[in-house]
Symmetry: C3
Subunit: 506 residues, 3 copies
């Protein structure tokens, strides 16, 4: 068992601090522009464990403790953020999603990096190279060879397997994102293995809503029925199968559902209407857009109530305009970097949806994520209208998501939540990532948070009371999420890393 | 007659200034982060009188010079901002709107306060405790007892009655918010008493628009008719009664109407259509949502024209999504903290409404308030399209309202107005509050304003010309509102406080 | 041939720098709040040439080398920004668009200027007075006489003719905005004259979309047909005439179309439907709003494809709510200062429009400009969904437009683009102005850009690598636009000004 490295022990810098109070890019004070910020970060944030309650990591790759062959494999594979930047820089598709050799892809990325100045990719790139591989040079065409070799030799050492990475970054728990019909076999394997980091599934039933594509819907319903051991003839069977899978996810330690929607669905839909729509789809007939929306509303209430019954958390990711580019969608499919922010009004359907659940006292704990920053303030006030005093921070406004997962976006979210709600009860950061290279984003978030709060202390906007303010930082870093999600068998922060690891092995 | 205390004479601090140029929370330089800001505030803002042109204070409580029994009574009663924070902190309803004993409610609040870091409540709380009761400790569970006693003994001294508070804060005039059917008996009593602070009614006819609830509409129309001494049979009677009450409010010194709407109403509606809708509602029949909207549009034009005729100011508060939580609305009613920001598009209906009035040259002076910050820039440009050169600043973009009544929200509003219009003509701050504890918000606003403008001076973005810049500050603090509203018998700032008080007594 | 003055050689200040690190308004470090910012500006931005790829300058006035009689003529004529400010300040219309004598208009403006503190007009005013006339006093009622005389005597010297101004500010190329039916006779004259600054037309076919006003449409179609030498009977003739004019603009060096729309149009419209709508309009019959929108969508695709064929750039200016004030529109017409921001959702129709072109691989290079800042982030992500790797920065998010053409607006645009795309590929600033006094806005933009980027260097958010960062600044200032637009016979920045001028004369 390797000892868990503190994320802060590597005090190496890309460029040494320069004189006159100026900071250097990626030194240990990166993003921490005041003494108060530095102090808060070091004392209350840097060494806190990670609870990554929303990610798109592959359970299979964790179970199999995947070893990555080279830097392109671990870093470029599936990373649509980088692909978008490369395309914007005039790089051909074969170097993005195409079949160019790994080193050529890496070189195309290396040539693009200097053009990402002020984009979060520039920060992520160098923070990741530093934390994973000890690279302290800026990546560009000239340094690419050296960095390629340095990273690959580190990968070859076997330290940075999927499990090695989770250990290295002190990840106490990670939640993946899973289809209800998924067997969760890899989750079982991980749990059986006694691996210290707990890995839980998240119930993501988006496909259950898509009755407009009857063929795909029926294929999926078949899988669902098989997984739940339910013969799905009528709507009640369908709901029953979903409930059984929800229960199964619960038995596997899952405590969250997750939903990726362009907006909340809250059109009133009777049982009879839902039954009729379901029957049409099952019969392979066309379903109108209106009927599909009503059906989606109906199912979302079903999921909300299942969550409420079991004390789960419902996560809503709202507002993305997916697959904006038809030509590329046809060529490459989903999740390859052709999505954008929508600007559909969110508040009214969202309030109605939450209200429909709340009327029966069946509104679960909920985290709202918006992709368009124009919704920040509205979302930060919507949660306030459904806080019912049952637990602190029952309704959450989630951290900056997707395009907002960067300094400006995080600051806006933190400020909106601060001004309209209780920052102190915030469950904090998630990677929401497909990549095992993304764990430094927790560090990034914590630095941004401490920088913002430290600046307030310096400006006299917060009391110069370190225990008071530091306690808030620490809770946002780990404790709030730990308490909020109630994931089984995860140790709290009080447990020291070594004990934690030992406990997990037993 | 107690002498009026300068809001700035208390130079006490919660925490003493610390070294190295850092400021301490709530010292005299609170929010003033540059020398220029401090200078502007002290010389041009701190001692200006207050003209609170929009509030929800109770005229009855002023007339009766209410004395508050304890800190819970003066501070927590009716304060839905605090209730929201408490619910978000997991506090049960009985400590918010419920029947827990006052001290227990206060303790629940005291325990919540440390969790409001970065929320405006944290600033307001300590500024209010300082300015009203001389409290210099931070409120939390440990300090609660001492602060409770200190405040209560100050309340017992009789200095902080409603009238005492208005005097203490140098409030030259305050406008309440009143139903057209209100007798204004307490306004009469106040005016008859010779109380130095002038208290004026504001005409708020929102209930006249609500034809969809025929029962409530008819009950209210009955009251309106009685108050106006008009037998309301037809629409023309209704309009006539409203006009008579408008005239009555004018005779009482009222110079504003106020309207709280989810959006501006500007659907074309003929006299005949309005008459038909009115007849249906009066007959207790159902009115469609479309007809109700047209009727509301019709009435809003009526109010706009009444205002234009008399030189009044029309205030529009736009965009709130009220009573978002049905369960709590049914349990507790309105204005208890279950509202949020809507995101309905505002600009098109608003422009149409203003344009309908302007076409006949009957657009009154208008102040637009938006609750969602996404509308800031649009609103700041809408006013520019209806400035007609008749008077400076005829169309106003109002200060940060409700959820925006905090540092970030105020700064956004000031910046939007600055960039798209003339900040120099801005009528400034209002408390918009139900609480007699809210007057330090004027101080808060002035500090935010001076901080922003002072920073610009320091950065060379404004000329280092103190009289030029200071004059703008002073006018925003008081003079602009004084000139704009033309409230009767209110002395200008040139009148010294003592003389002012004497004049009022005669 | 007068030598071209460096925009940065005049190191005079309105107020001298003061001690203690504070900057003075309009000194040489104006807007440059850090040493890094100053250095970037001086070395990489100040002396770069200008490529003003979108303006509303008059080709006639350039061709005729107009000399301005007085400061009112060159500065107030047609400037609706100033008129709006004056109206907001209570100035009568006769001093804005009316027939007051020039000096009285100037005095009305001079009295308004001190009320524009924090509005971009305050900065522009003094920067323009400084750069054109060497005026170092602040403009107000007292200084007005002196400034009037100083400016007029400079104008009388003949140095500041339209051509003199273009030379003075190092404008290598300027694109005007032109109707497809325009003969471009003045562009021909300019090109024939060998004037060093290249002046190109931009194809702006907004009138082709306005079938709802059949009379105006038919009048315009007549002109179009005449200019194209096409007898326009059917839709195909209309499209053909437009294509011929597009080709003619191309032959004149035009490389851009430009479109001012409340939103993108992307309603599906068959050839037959478009033909029917065209026929109705040509017959003088009424066209429904829906049909007009479909027709507009149809034509916009036509323009997009013409642009794609020829490698042009399509510029979309989206979201303005024009002629908001009917009374003033009837009295004064368009473009006189009664427009505002709309808040119609933009993203969905925009994505659909771009996608319709992209499906056939006929999406041209495109620059998106939004007038409402709420669209910043969405637009910055929309471009990313249509970057196809063909050239770097194919899809552009344009600089802050109209009400956003100021420090805060520019910073927001730069930040949105930085966070969601590649700032490094940005084509930068345009004046978008009717006034020959607007060229210092390029200086203003460059200072804002350098200030923002320099602050990041100082904060360690960018590497302290001057060549890396400086190269980005230089490209945004000129090179990116130079490469992107491919305007014919324009020299790159490597060509020194004198040689450049000589080359143009030959």
């Amino acid at each position: 068992m390797e000892p868990r490295a503190s994320r802060f022990e590597a005090r190496d810098c890309i460029l040494k601090p320069v004189g006159g109070g100026r900071m250097s890019f990626s030194d240990e004070n990166f993003l921490l522009q005041s003494e108060a910020a530095r102090h808060l970060y070091r004392k209350y944030a840097a060494d806190e464990p990670i609870l990554d309650f929303h990610s798109h990591l592959s359970a299979k790759e964790i179970a199999e403790n995947r070893r990555f062959g080279n830097l392109a494999e671990i870093w470029l594979e599936g990373d649509h953020y980088k692909w978008r930047a490369m395309r914007s820089n005039g790089v051909e598709e074969k170097y993005c999603t195409g079949n160019a050799p790994p080193f050529e892809k890496f070189m195309a990325w290396a040539r693009t990096v200097p053009h990402t100045l002020r984009n979060p990719l520039y920060h992520w790139t160098h923070l990741e190279l530093l934390r994973y591989f000890g690279v302290t040079r800026l990546l560009d065409e000239k340094s690419a060879d050296e960095i390629w070799n340095q990273a690959n030799s580190k990968l070859a050492s076997g330290e940075l397997t999927t499990q090695g990475i989770l250990r290295k970054f002190g990840v106490r728990a990670v939640c993946t994102t899973d289809d209800p019909a998924d067997s969760l076999e890899y989750h079982k394997k991980i749990q059986a293995s006694g691996f210290a980091t707990r890995v839980f599934p998240t119930f993501r039933p988006d496909r259950a809503l898509r009755v407009e594509d009857a063929a795909a819907f029926n294929e999926w319903t078949g899988k669902l029925g098989a997984s739940a051991n339910v013969d799905i003839a009528r709507l009640s069977d369908f709901l029953d199968a979903l409930a059984k899978r929800h229960q199964f996810f619960h038995s596997m330690g899952g405590r969250c559902s997750d939903h990726g929607l362009d907006r909340a669905y809250s059109e009133p839909c009777t049982d009879r209407e839902a039954e009729a729509t379901f029957a049409r789809a099952r019969a392979g007939k066309e379903v109108t857009s209106d009927d599909a929306t009503k059906f989606a509303s109906y199912l979302m209430l079903h999921f909300g109530r299942l969550n409420a019954e079991k004390g789960w958390v419902m996560q809503l990711h709202l507002g993305a305009y997916r697959n904006a580019n038809t030509r590329m969608y046809k060529a490459l499919g989903r999740d390859v970097g052709f999505d954008c922010m929508g600007d559909t009004p969110q508040t009214t359907p969202l309030v109605r949806f939450l209200d429909m659940l709340d009327r029966d006292n069946r509104l679960p704990k909920t985290v709202l994520f918006n992709v368009n920053p124009v919704d920040n303030y509205a979302f930060a006030t919507v949660i306030g209208s459904f806080q019912d005093g049952s637990i602190a921070g029952k309704m959450q406004f989630g951290t900056g998501w997707w395009f907002l997962d960067q300094k400006e976006g995080m600051e806006w979210q933190i400020n909106a939540l601060s001004n309209c709600g209780l920052l102190s009860r915030f469950v904090g950061m998630v990677t929401d990532s497909r990549s095992f290279m993304s764990f430094p984003r927790h560090e990034y978030f914590r630095r941004v948070l401490c920088n913002l709060v430290g600046a307030d202390m310096d400006a006299g906007l917060l009391p110069d009371d370190e225990p008071l303010v530091g306690d808030m930082i620490r809770r946002i870093a780990f404790d709030n999420a730990y308490e909020y999600f109630g994931l089984p068998s995860v140790e709290g922060r009080a447990v020291a890393p070594a004990e934690h690891a030992r406990a997990r092995r037993m």
